[in-house]
């Protein structure tokens, strides 16, 4: 299968030619397959924000290429806006970008910029709102009357309503409490399942990424560090820990048990998985 998005040898240099010159991203490669749920993880400063702003052409590579459906997105710089409709990007704390008088109008901003007709916009606004669990009566309220969590959903709906082929979310749960976090993640999962389009989830929480995605890309110091299924990545949990990345508590417990001499599989990252593994061990012990 052909990847829907392919990043090839991407380098981005900030403040080139000044003493502050630095490569935020260096020789990075990335593929996103159609329908895939991909997680990108890394510290602040690992290059993840810079990378994702290249995916929809907000930043232009210093060198390297980005291909969408096999076509270089910068082949025709005048058409870069079309790329932004196909690769929807939800920024961190997206609620701070709301500006319209009503929730409805704000969600309609993206579809409106696409030049769609009124009926189509209406359909998309309602569908987008439904995906993030916004009730109908909220649509005609001012976004500024809503709670923080609801504002964030409006902002996410605004990008979903563009019906992008790839939806990229930068830290969609930042600052939310456990309940709010789980709600947003559940909605993203449901969206992915029913639309079948690709979703890229960017986060610094290993737990969050591990429990939701098919594949994880770990970035470190502007470079690719690991790339694989959650199991493959967490099989190298000790390495992750060594470079200061947060690994899930469950994986930490498994590692601690292994150090105590238990023959345990440490490539686990959710409570039910470790539970199953321990029950297996206990069964063996009896």
């Amino acid at each position: 299968m052909e990847p829907i998005l392919r990043v090839e040898n991407l380098t981005h240099t900030y403040s080139a030619g000044t003493p502050f010159q630095r490569n935020a991203v260096e020789g990075m490669n990335l593929t996103v397959m159609p329908g895939e749920f991909l997680g990108i993880i890394g510290h602040t400063g690992s290059g993840k924000s810079t990378l994702i702003q290249h995916l929809n052409g907000l930043l232009r590579p210093t060198s390297g290429h980005i291909y969408l459906d096999g076509k270089d997105i910068w082949a025709q710089p005048k058409k870069i806006r079309d790329v932004r409709f196909q690769v929807g990007l939800v920024f961190q704390y997206p609620e701070y970008q709301l500006f319209e008088e009503t929730v409805y109008k704000d969600i309609a901003f993206g579809p409106g910029n696409m030049g769609l007709d009124k009926d189509e916009i209406d359909r998309r606004v309602r569908e987008g709102a439904a995906f993030v669990g916004l009730p109908e009566d909220v649509l005609h309220k001012s976004p500024f009357e809503l709670s923080g969590g609801q504002k964030r959903r409006v902002a996410i709906a605004g990008v979903i309503a563009m019906e992008p082929k790839v939806l990229v979310l930068d830290e969609p749960t930042a600052g939310l409490d456990p309940q709010g976090r789980e709600n947003i993640l559940a909605q993203i999962r449901a969206y992915h399942k029913s639309r079948g389009t690709s979703v890229v989830l960017v986060s610094h929480s290993m737990e969050e990424v591990a429990q939701n995605v098919d594949r994880i890309v770990v970035l470190r110091d502007a470079h690719n560090f690991m790339d694989g299924t959650p199991r493959q990545v967490f099989a190298r949990a000790e390495e992750l820990e060594r470079v200061g990345l947060d690994i899930p508590q469950v994986t930490k417990v498994a590692l601690a048990l292994k150090r105590r001499g238990l023959p345990i599989d440490t490539a686990v990252y959710t409570v039910p998985e470790l539970e199953r593994e321990l029950l297996r061990l206990k069964g063996g012990a009896v």
């Binding site: 806006r81 932004r84 939800v90 920024f91 701070y96 970008q97 500006f99 910029n113 605004g158």
Partner: protein, 268 residues
């Protein structure tokens, strides 16, 4: 990008020009401007120019940094020059076509006016290049403190100025972020008529204003929590002291200005 804007930029350093008390520098700039506007002839202009050159040399600020500041005003400079050339009465330069309208007197005034603007800008830029914004506000507050007797809210104004300086980079960063977010939703800031472009700014300005108000509100609370209660009884980490160099520089500039005024009166 917005981040590249130079606004009252400060180049840290350890030269005499950097070490002087900000009040001294403020006074020096005021005296320099007075001298500049009193200068009339070649001699007086040359004196003021020499003073400026000395300051630039002492401060070790690169000439390129100073001329860069002129970019913003070159339209005004050209406009002034042209106006003076054509609209000053006197002897025409030659009796052909356009040159008939240009007078020797006009040329002379044009050159002096352009010099005056350039030197004015270079002088004030030199002040901001060698004085940190915070020292500048401290200096201003201190220098203007006699006005408190006239119920001018000097402390409040200085506090507002320093908070504005503190938040300029934050708000610029925020503007960049909001612009990117709206571009990601297909906003187009680069094409269309002026009216269309102005309208395209709404999605940036509304979130920016809302955020600025939120920040102001939170900052006010945070300041109160740190026992801020106006300027009464406030002390300072850095207390301003005049040193010998300050007095010498002040005397120097007084002499410069008085000298220029006297010479200009005498027709030089």
């Amino acid at each position: 990008m917005l981040k590249d804007i130079t606004l009252g930029q400060y180049f840290p350093g350890h030269t005499l020009a950097h070490r002087l008390d900000p009040r001294t520098k403020l006074l020096a700039v005021v005296l320099y401007i007075v001298a500049l506007f009193c200068a009339k002839g070649v001699v007086t202009y040359a004196i003021v120019m020499a003073a400026l050159a000395t300051c630039i040399l002492v401060s070790r600020v690169k000439l390129r940094a100073l001329t860069r500041g002129l970019k913003a005003v070159y339209v005004i400079v050209i406009f002034t020059a042209v106006m003076n050339m054509f609209f000053t009465g006197g002897t025409p330069v030659a009796d052909v076509w356009l040159l008939r309208h240009i007078t020797f007197e006009g040329l002379r005034t044009a050159v002096f006016m352009v010099l005056r603007i350039i030197m004015l800008i270079m002088g004030t830029f030199l002040l901001t290049y060698t004085t940190s914004p915070i020292a500048l506000t401290d200096g201003l507050e201190n220098a203007l403190s006699p006005l408190k007797k006239l119920h001018v809210p000097v402390h409040e104004l200085a506090m507002m100025m320093s908070i504005a300086l503190r938040f300029i980079p934050t708000l610029i960063e925020e503007t960049d972020k909001i612009m990117s977010a709206q571009k990601a939703r297909g906003a187009d800031f680069e094409s269309g008529s002026i009216f269309k472009r102005a309208k395209a700014l709404v999605p940036i300005l509304v979130p920016l204003f809302i955020s600025a108000f939120r920040r102001a509100d939170e900052l006010a609370t945070a300041m109160e929590c740190r026992c801020y209660h106006g300027g009464d009884g406030r002390t300072a980490l850095h207390v301003l002291h005049y040193k010998a160099a300050d007095y010498l520089v002040m005397i120097g500039f007084v002499v410069l200005t008085v000298g220029v005024i006297v010479l200009a009166r005498m027709g030089f």
